[in-house]
């Protein structure tokens, strides 16, 4: 019976593949329940996957900024609340740690003919997620302001500081630089990016012991502080939304922030055509004479819950494979840098692709990185606001991390 079912399903899949005009995804039945973050690129993917809801197939979604808090409890239940969590480099970790997602090798072999090999996230040889988009923080700049100041778009953070000084001296802007320096996760991410650009390592080889309290760490903090002197004094409250608003209001000339914001920053909404039209992008700058861009590469991809029934799991994989097809990517070129085959990147992809081809590194995919990130976001604040020196802030961050890592059983 099993074999006959597989043959039947394979037949259906073939029929679906051969008749492209047929709108459905060829799934017979199953319940697809998707949990994801809340931004336009993911809306496009999940909406496309929702096309599969026909007949006995149901597709439901919960797209929320709080997706990480829901993921572990939602996928631990049996049957799970969600059959898929759309994850990134960092948010896949809790699912792997809890053994909550299933290997996708069989589904990839059966239904994955459209997938690129580079899309497969393999862990210890098993496909655990299928990536469909890339994201990174890269340079956004106002071409008109830089031209008036007579400077080229900066290739390094040192050039960026010089350019900021010139823009200030010529009276073009009071706070030419911007950054997502909000205390907490955002500030932690700024440290991670800059520290990677400096060529630093976060942990001692092969262990969870932190290794950030060193010259590179101090240089990283000094650079963050130098940059912040050219920013709006409220920088410790700035997240991507606030920074986007500053850019659109014409109060910022240069900032390194998320590539996925490109569409929102350069569209006419919330800005004047003169400002929006002059915003250009480039790869992330390097720092401290290093050769790799000071940024981290991120992927977003889908997983399938381990506790889902086989029927639901298969339907989920196929619906999301449909959601991440090249049709979807080509219809939503401006929303993300897709990793999907058969799609031509638009101007929004330049920054991420330039950073990637310059050798930018992915965000570290180790299970205890989140704890270190959180500790950095909380402890670096005292340095940024001038209450502590760099070495003390780094020592505090290490101590806060070690305390948390001991509690979570990563360090004995």
């Amino acid at each position: 019976m099993k074999i006959s079912r597989i043959i039947l399903l394979a037949g259906v899949a073939l029929a679906a593949a051969s008749t492209n005009a047929y709108a459905g995804c060829g799934i017979e039945k199953g319940s697809v329940r998707i949990l994801s973050n809340d931004f336009p690129a993911l809306h496009a993917v999940v909406d496309k996957a929702s096309e599969c809801a026909e007949g006995a197939v149901t597709v439901t979604k919960n797209q929320t900024k709080e997706h990480e808090s829901l993921a572990v409890p939602g996928l631990s239940a049996n049957p799970p609340e969600f059959t898929s969590h759309i994850v990134a480099n960092s948010s896949i970790q809790p699912l792997l740690n809890g053994d909550l997602i299933r290997p996708l090798d069989d589904y990839v072999a059966k239904y994955g003919e459209g997938l690129q090999k580079t899309q497969l996230i393999t862990i210890d040889g098993k496909v655990m997620a299928v990536a469909f988009m890339a994201n990174a923080q890269h340079l956004f700049y106002r071409a008109d302001i830089l031209e008036k100041a007579g400077v080229q778009p900066p290739k390094t953070y040192e050039e960026m500081l010089e350019a900021a000084k010139l823009i200030k001296e010529k009276g073009l802007m009071d706070h030419p630089l911007g950054g997502t320096y909000k205390a907490g996760w955002n500030l932690g991410e700024e440290f991670v990016n800059m520290y990677i650009g400096m060529g630093g390592e976060f942990f001692k080889e092969g262990s969870a012991e932190p290794a950030i309290n060193n010259e590179k760490g101090v240089a990283t903090l000094e650079m963050l502080k130098s940059l912040s002197t050219h920013m709006n004094p409220d920088f410790l409250t700035f997240d991507s939304n606030a920074l986007q608003a500053e850019f659109e209001a014409g109060k910022t000339a240069m900032a390194v922030f998320w590539g996925s914001r490109y569409g929102a920053v350069t569209d006419a909404e919330g800005s004047t055509p003169e400002i929006a039209g002059a915003i250009k992008i480039a790869g992330a700058p390097t720092v401290g004479g290093g050769s790799i861009p000071a940024t981290t590469l991120w992927w977003d991809g889908f997983t399938v819950a381990k506790n889902a029934s086989d029927e639901d799991a298969e339907a989920t994989f196929r619906a999301l494979a449909h959601g991440t097809s090249s049709d979807m990517a080509n219809a939503n070129v401006d929303k993300a840098v897709w990793l999907i085959g058969g799609y031509t990147p638009g101007p929004n992809g330049e920054g991420v692709l330039a950073s990637a081809s310059a050798g930018a590194k992915p965000y570290p995919m180790v299970p205890y990185m989140g704890l270190l990130h959180n500790a950095l976001g909380a402890e670096v604040v005292d340095f940024m606001s001038g209450k502590e020196d760099a070495a003390q802030a780094l020592a505090d961050a290490e101590a806060a991390y070690v305390t948390a890592a001991k509690e979570k059983g990563f360090i004995k």
């Binding site: 990480e68 808090s69 993921a71 480099n89 948010s91 970790q93 809790p94 699912l95 792997l96 740690n97 809890g98 053994d99 580079t118 996230i121 393999t122 862990i123 210890d124 990536a131 890339a134 909000k182 205390a183 907490g184 996760w185 092969g206 969870a208 709006n232 004094p233 409220d234 410790l236 409250t237 997240d239 209001a249 590469l297 992927w299 990793l339 990637a356 590194k361 992915p362 570290p364 995919m365 180790v366 299970p367 989140g370 704890l371 990130h373 959180n374 909380a378 604040v381 005292d382 940024m384 606001s385 209450k387 502590e388 101590a399 806060a400 001991k406 509690e407 979570k408 059983g409 004995k412």
Partner: protein, 342 residues
């Protein structure tokens, strides 16, 4: 009341209190004594769109086996309470022996996350509570003197700050004090300093949060005192007037003694509420300069998919202890009043 009747009378509420208050606190306490199992780590090769790398991963099956054997985690005694992110006894001892002066010791002590949050929480509690009582009383007196026709609308508008959800109220104020907002821009103009920012300096952030707290809680004190004012005996007031007491003397010697028990009540509730200050810290994006005990609990639980349950539980227990300690003088006073009356 016979003991038997009393027992059956209070039984439902005692049961409800055990189920909804005592048991959860006991479970939080149990949680605070346990840490997660040691993770079994393996080195594996991870591949993705940006290449392959050998990285450490948790051996989920082996860790799960450990977890099944002891679902609560490893017993850790009071170690979470004493670690750096809470009472930090070891760190404090080290700082004490290493510090050159008391000032240096205190400044390094208040850089530790728990003490930093405790300092703000206590400052907030002790500044906001008295202001709320005094301001609430003043508003109640003022509203009581308003002509009858205007009373309804005046009461409604005076209550508005309390009706608005705290998070929304703080967000609205957060945008108003922005350099581009109404209040922020006005203050910049008054101070004649275009770079003045209420969000960038720690003292201004503290003042801003406290002003918000007073604005938000004053209506509560107002409503209680206003209700109390309606019960002030008219005879006593009238005789005071005949004796030639001024308005101030009537308030001082008739109204305030009459409302004193209400002030204790408002103080009690406000001490509890203000010690749990949380929403304004989030709404004002103030975590860079001001954190509170409740905010630390939230931050531990939000830790990117790896919530620190033990740590959050320990902070919760310390908060409960703090509330009990704060309330003890007021409770003792109430108890004495009660015994005296009997």
């Amino acid at each position: 009341m016979p003991h038997r009747t009393f027992f059956w009378f209070v039984l439902p509420s005692v049961l409800a209190m055990i189920v909804f208050i005592a048991l959860p606190i006991a479970s939080v306490f149990m949680q605070s004594l346990h840490v997660a199992h040691d993770r079994v780590m393996v080195e594996v090769e991870n591949c993705g769109p940006f290449g392959c790398k050998k990285e450490m991963q948790v051996d989920a099956a082996a860790t799960e086996a450990l977890r099944r054997a002891e679902p609560l985690g490893q017993f850790a005694g009071l170690s979470i309470y004493l670690n750096r992110n809470h009472l930090a006894t070891g760190e404090l001892a080290q700082m004490w022996s290493g510090a050159s002066s008391l000032g240096a010791f205190l400044s390094s002590m208040f850089a530790l996350p728990f003490y930093k949050a405790l300092l703000f929480t206590l400052a907030y509690t002790f500044v906001v509570t008295p202001f709320v009582i005094v301001l609430g009383f003043a508003i109640a007196l003022a509203v009581n003197a308003v002509p009858r026709v205007l009373k309804g609308p005046t009461i409604f508008f005076s209550l508005l700050p309390m009706i608005i959800t705290p998070l929304i109220g703080s967000l609205v104020l957060f945008w108003m004090i922005d350099a581009n907002g109404v209040i922020g821009a006005t203050i910049q103009r008054l101070a004649n300093d275009p770079n003045l920012s209420l969000k960038a300096s720690a003292p201004l952030t503290w003042i801003m949060l406290m002003v918000y707290g007073i604005w938000h809680s004053a209506p509560f004190a107002f409503v209680v005192f206003y209700a109390g004012l309606q019960t002030v005996p008219a005879d006593t007031l009238e005789s005071a007037m005949i004796d030639g007491a001024s308005r101030w003397e009537r308030i001082r010697y008739v109204v305030i003694p009459h409302l004193a028990p209400l002030a204790t009540f408002v103080g009690l509730i406000q001490l509890m509420d203000n010690f749990r200050v949380f929403e304004p810290v989030v709404g004002f994006n103030a975590e860079a300069h001001a954190t509170s005990l409740s905010w630390i609990i939230y931050n531990d639980l939000k830790n990117q998919g790896e919530p620190l349950y033990g740590s959050a539980a320990a902070t919760s227990m310390l908060t409960i202890f703090g509330v009990a300690l704060l309330l003890s003088p007021v409770l003792v006073r109430t108890w004495c009043d009660f015994s005296r009356k009997r």
